[in-house]
């Protein structure tokens, strides 16, 4: 166990060290990410300028949701951007490099890449909250919320990564088509940063099953509004289930890949 953790830590450190060579890339991409998040967020500010609230959700909730999704997305892609490379690895055969090693290939694939832009996402949440609360005076956050926010961010990050793994593992069946998996990933992000509160049952059915964005952004924000143990347990159970499902689907796909190669 310890040696596995050491290997994973070494892989992560190796990833981060690549940034030292090209700091300009890291800064430019992080700033651009922050800028694009802000531009998208402004659309919601414009919206709530005319519409007071939508079924009880207002700018405060949308701000919290944006911050959480940015953190979750940023953390996932900063540490585990390798998941997005699964289709390329499958189509190019580069995955052979990982499956010939004695350890399970998934952790090494997950840690095989880090997105420099994701750092902009990670820092976007605190920047947004400070700006909205400090400059506009809108009460987005209290200090008592911080532990719960951090815990929910960790759970949502695991869920987000698991969903990424599921979506990109589909490439084992789709002949490594990267664009289709990319489109599904886009759907995950679209669902995650949209107002799911009050949506019709059809949308809810999708966001709590196929694309579990409901557990990633909607329920955590509901918990920040009013904490209850039942909802919290649902998030924990969903996290465990989707993590298991992701590993299961990845293993299935990998076996299929190995059989096809044999």
């Amino acid at each position: 166990m310890m040696s596995t953790l050491k290997t994973l830590a070494a892989l992560f450190v190796a990833n981060v060290r690549t940034y030292a060579i090209d700091k300009k890339r890291l800064y430019v991409m992080s700033l651009a990410m922050c800028l694009q998040n802000t531009m998208f967020f402004v659309l919601w500010v414009i919206f709530f300028n005319h519409v007071g609230s939508i079924r009880g959700w207002d700018l405060v909730d949308v701000t919290r949701m944006f911050g959480m999704v940015a953190s979750v997305c940023g953390l996932s892609l900063f540490f585990f951007d390798g998941l997005r490379t699964i289709p390329y690895k499958v189509s190019s055969g580069a995955i052979d490099f990982y499956i010939t090693k004695p350890r399970h290939p998934l952790p090494a694939i997950m840690l095989s890449s880090s997105s420099p832009a994701s750092l902009g996402d990670v820092f976007y949440a605190p920047t947004l909250y400070l700006l909205i609360q400090g400059v506009l005076g809108i009460p987005v956050f209290t200090f008592s919320m911080v532990p719960l926010f951090l815990l929910l961010t960790v759970l949502s990050t695991i869920l987000f990564m698991s969903t990424m793994c599921l979506l990109f593992s589909l490439s084992f069946w789709l002949k490594g088509n990267p664009r289709f998996s990319g489109q599904l990933f886009e759907m995950l992000i679209i669902f995650s940063c949209n107002v799911l509160h009050g949506q019709p049952w059809g949308v809810k059915a999708v966001v709590f099953t196929l694309i579990p964005a409901g557990f990633i952004s909607y329920l955590p924000i509901e918990l920040l509004r009013h904490f209850d143990w039942v909802t919290f347990s649902e998030i924990v159970l969903a996290t465990i289930f989707y993590a298991w499902l992701a590993i299961f689907i990845f293993n299935k796909g990998l076996r299929r890949y190995v059989r096809a190669k044999a």
């Binding site: 651009a32 531009m39 998208f40 659309l43 300028n49 832009a117 289709f180 669902f191 059809g202």
Partner: protein, 268 residues
């Protein structure tokens, strides 16, 4: 080389784009799925808006749904990922093969993408009508409005593709093209009024947006489903034509700068 020859070269590139666009069936399916999901989500949001909040703006929930369905339709019809091909060609120096041809590489590339865009437009159009009608629970535009959208779309697509070309070449100056892509794409969202019509915007932001080319890409097409007057539609179309001409002129100038940069220093 005369105009006829130039047009035939562009036509050939466009036909290649048509074939390429049609061959990627899975990507087309993905596009329909993502488009459908976006409209479903935003239709849900629009349905939750109290009608009294948007009545002073002269809008209804149904119009808002049709508006976003129209703007997203145009955005989805223009293939945006082509900028990565340009970046890749510059980084691998394959771009040198493109620039030795006796024809504008930018126009050739845009004509190719235009072919892809036509396929995507044709595939998405019936889906757009069905999706918007289903979620808005009403067929909002008249036949004339639909014809208006079809008439405005070619210039919208052209301008979007020129922007994606410029984004692709931005890696000659900035470390990668992605940052420029994110900013331009969100610029189209925000200043092009992709989600909410410009009447939603504060006056100052609405005025600023009309001084940029972004509304000419999306808002001009969206105006057709908002029950705008003939005068408004005419002004919007004139705005689109002016920006299309300016963008074509800028492209020609910009291409010279790009060529000089490629021949001189290469990627950043």
């Amino acid at each position: 080389m005369n105009t006829r020859h130039n047009l035939s070269v562009l036509m050939t590139a466009m036909i290649m784009g048509l074939r390429d666009g049609w061959s990627e069936k899975l990507v087309l399916l993905g596009t329909l799925m993502v488009y459908g999901v976006i409209i479903m989500l935003y239709a849900g949001v629009m349905r939750m808006i109290p009608p009294a909040d948007i009545a002073p703006l002269g809008l209804t929930q149904s119009q808002m749904i049709w508006y976003i369905a129209t703007t997203e339709f145009i955005l989805f019809a223009a293939p945006s990922w082509g900028f990565k091909d340009i970046q890749n060609e510059i980084n691998t120096e394959q771009v040198h093969l493109d620039i030795i041809r006796p024809f504008s590489p930018a126009l050739l590339r845009i004509a190719f993408w235009y072919g892809e865009a036509i396929v995507r437009f044709c595939v998405l159009f019936p889906f757009y009508i069905l999706t918007a009608t289903y979620f808005a629970e009403a067929f909002e535009p008249s036949l004339l409005d639909l014809l208006g959208i079809i008439a405005c779309a070619p210039l919208s697509l052209f301008m979007a593709l020129v922007m994606y070309y410029a984004v692709g070449t931005s890696c000659l100056w900035v470390v990668q093209s992605e940052p420029a892509y994110w900013v331009v794409h969100k610029g189209i969202f925000l200043l092009g009024a992709m989600i909410w019509p410009i009447v939603f915007y504060p006056d100052w932001l609405g005025a600023i947006s009309w001084f940029t080319p972004f509304p000419a890409i999306l808002a001009v097409c969206g105006k057709w489903v908002l029950g705008s007057s003939a005068l408004e539609l005419g002004a919007a179309f004139a705005h689109q034509v002016v920006w299309a001409v300016l963008i074509l002129y800028a492209l020609m100038k910009f291409e010279r700068i790009v060529l000089r940069r490629i021949q001189g220093e290469g990627a950043a």
